[in-house]
Amino acid sequence: MEEQECLQKKDSELVRLTLENEEYFFCIMKKYEGPLLKYINRITNIHPEDAQDLLQETFIKAYINLNEFDLSLKFSSWIYRIAHNQVIDNFRKFKNQPEKINSEINEKVLEKIKTDLNIEKTIDQKILKKKLNHLINQLDIKYKEVIVLKYLENKTYDEISDIIKKPVNTVGTLIKRAKEKLNHLIKQNKIYE
């Protein structure tokens, strides 16, 4: 399967083609391996090998349940949901693993979080950027996940609702609480100048 050929096709078409010929699943993997691996890494603290295992399980589950996908949903929401379920199923396994800090929060994401969280301007930018991952990692998984989906994965409330299978209003409440908790952690960690 040529990479170019994969990228030209729509998700729904790839699903249809995969159901006819499993070779096309390569295209789905090619398209979603990066985003899903990032997502898994962002909401868990697991080692890269474990993240790869989770990704593999996610893809196999997606293939088995491919007929469940219908066009009323975005394919990305559907496959993220499977990854979300895999993470939740394996949550106990990696709960006690040491925290892994990654510095993937760029200026744009940082600015968005700052505006949304009403973080005061006096805050130390460099320290905030450095510590934000660490603080997000301290959040409970249900809060961490919505923060990751909203700010790092740029998902809408509707998409988050489809991924975590919760009503849109509940998503709103979770994000509001997550922001409150994050704000509290920022203050607690004395990031302010």
């Binding site: 499993e22 390569f26 893809f59 196999i60 007929n67 219908d70 009323s72 299978k165 009503p167 849109v168």
Partner: protein
Amino acid sequence: MNKELKKTILEKIKNIQPKAKWKFILKNYLAWIFGALSLLIGAITTAVIIYIIQNNDYGLYRLAHPSPLNMVAKTLPYFWIISLIIFIIIVYYNLKHTKKGYKLELYKISIIVILASIFLGIIFYNLGLGEKIDHGFSQRLPFYRQMMRPRQMIWLETEQGLLAGKIINLKNPENFTLLDLNNQEWEVIKLENNQLPLPPNFFPNNFNLQIGLDIKAFGKKIDQNHFQAFIIRPLKPSFPGPGRPFR
């Protein structure tokens, strides 16, 4: 993800078949069907609750006890109320497991299910389903009779002037023998009492006593076997006439 891993996944899925589409469709339909069935049973349960509450003779009881709260507590159909709660939970569970069920919020589903149960329950009650089920269960299920016993025991408070049972001998319309719910025989004399605080149309004038009829009475206990009845009403609430609804 490295190429090797992609290759491994492709190798693995070669030996796996995706689940058939009909399985997902069936799962969704089953959730709807079980949800609808549970809603239907919940509505029938509501009809029985309405029937039982509607036909608790709070008016007659109030003549014996000034506060009806005691009777309300004793006669609430707990079995049916618990059943209704269980069926509402089952409806909620099934709706949540439909394809888009996760979009529905708990309070919205609860309100919809409760309102639908009440609405359908009123229809079923008016169709006589509540009465049929209560009577059917009473006749066929011993455990149900046992559960409903506290509700009947109220009519054995003869010291308070309450008595209920079956007419087994009718000497004349004013004098008969009654077998109470504890299988004790009572000689009952009907006597009107104008001193009672009753609404003008309370007495069921078109009510004929006959052998085999279940009745309830308010009056006065004379001794261990004699009872003076001021008001007599059928125990079965399907009794027509102006005396029935008394609040």
